[in-house]
Amino acid sequence: MIEVKNVTKSFDDKTVLHDVSCVFETGKTNLIIGQSGSGKTVLIKSIVGLLHPEQGEILYDGRDVMRMSHDQVKELRKEIGMLFQGSALFDSETVLGNVLFPLMMFTTMSREEQLERAHFCLDRVNLKGADSKFPSEISGGMQKRVAIARAIALNPRYLFCDEPNSGLDPKTSILIDELLSDITHEYNITTIINTHDMNSVLGIGENIVFINKGHREWVGNMNEIYRTSNEALNQFVFATQLFQRVKQYVISHEQPHP
């Protein structure tokens, strides 16, 4: 479980996160949603330690990352996997080389064991036969899957995904969402996904945090979101006619509470 308590982050004179508090639960797909520029990328980068908030606490299963020494943070990072918006695969390494990288850097495994683990991870993301290809030679969806394989190579306890569906077609987006959800449940990890893809919100959002203009405005799940009275959230999630119809359909077919 990751707890964010009263986090504030500013850049020069502009405050991007205002006293944000939220909880991301273990074994669930936790989503951070919000419009572009709302502060969700700053929040996820603050949680992983790429940015340093001015105030607040970020607790990884009770361990406050903002009060850790450099070595403790380094150790914690071995428990973290991250999927970046643009995949962030190493251009100079092959698909296999990318997945092998964390194993090579942080384990004492033999070469055979490393290869076995890397192939297992690539199989887990349904990526076979692309071992020797370079990132530039594979599609965007495949790159995301390689990045997921690399992120799970060290059996992380925490998985962070920054807009994993950006630039992908709807079908591939759903595949990536399902894969992230399956991995989260299978390995019981704390997954935080930063997204503004409504299919993800309504499909895998077991715990959703809505950020608006740097404030945490709403917390709930994919079922509760249909009945929210938060105007900003309604305008954001149900902005298109398609999603408005989905909302009307779901509400009209919902069983009344006893």
């Binding site: 990072r77 071995k78 991250m82 962030a88 251009d91 964390p102 850097m105 942080f106």
Partner: protein, 249 residues
């Protein structure tokens, strides 16, 4: 304002270098990456060094003949002057200015692209010291290989002058060969090697610094690459004066 900016950059450069010269996470990985960088930055530069050196050597020989042709100056002076110009300045300072363009822009654009595509963030998230992992092999590899490039430069430059003697009639081969051996001072060779080590460090570290702190996109990577070459070149020229004063006087 400019002074504040310069001092900030200077301070940030040394903070960056303290991260670069940290103990590597895995020595074996560091070793293999250094060999890779020697190949990429050093060995791949040999053809360029040889092509430039052979022509510059030839041009120096021709210009020496034109400028010092006098009955009072012995004919072998062409070889002697060619050798000393190559040893004292061309094979280290001028060569490094050329390499600042090739190697410096290569390093800055490579690291800058890694920065804007979040590959450096990915390394940091994994707990890897990205500055150490990416930059140290480049600095060590390039500094280690630089004397080899200087040696290639000296040999091919002198061969360029020899080719002028062989294929033209402005100086005889025997006088040129005698000239490049006459009044030889071994220290000049060491002086060139020592200077080149400093210049190699400047090229690799300054270019890495500019690449590492890129913010933005492709346009900024291009600007960082240009800034890396310009700054490295200025620092090479500045160091050239300081080192010449220290080593030759």
């Amino acid at each position: 304002m400019l002074l504040t900016k310069s001092l900030t950059s200077f301070g940030r450069y040394w903070v960056f270098m303290s991260r670069v010269f940290a103990v590597p996470d895995k020595w074996r990985v560091m070793g293999s990456r250094t060999v890779f960088e020697i190949s990429k930055l050093g060995v791949d530069s040999i053809p360029l060094v040889m092509i430039i050196s052979i022509f510059i050597g030839a041009v120096i020989a021709i210009q020496m003949q034109l400028n010092i042709s006098s009955p009072l100056i012995p004919a072998y002076s062409v070889g002697l002057a060619t050798r000393d110009i190559v040893l004292l300045e061309f094979s280290n300072s001028i060569l490094c200015l050329i390499l600042a363009g090739k190697v410096g822009s290569n390093i800055a654009s490579e690291i800058g692209t890694m920065k804007v595509t979040e590959q450096i963030d990915a390394l940091d998230i994994m707990g890897v010291n990205s500055a150490n992992f990416l930059v140290l092999p480049k600095v060590v590899g390039f500094v280690l290989f630089m004397p080899v490039l200087v040696a290639f430069c000296i040999a091919t430059s002198l061969f360029g002058g020899f080719a002028v003697a062989l294929f033209t009639d402005i100086i005889t081969v025997s006088r040129y060969v005698y000239g490049i051996q006459a009044l030889f001072q071994e220290w000049y060779v060491w002086y060139g090697f020592i200077k080149s080590l400093f210049f190699a460090y400047v090229i690799a570290s300054v270019s890495s610094y500019f690449g590492y702190y890129v913010k933005g996109g492709a346009l900024e990577v291009g600007k960082a690459s240009t800034n890396a070459v310009v700054t490295s070149s200025i620092l090479i020229l500045l160091l050239d004066v300081v080192l010449t004063k220290l080593l030759l006087q």
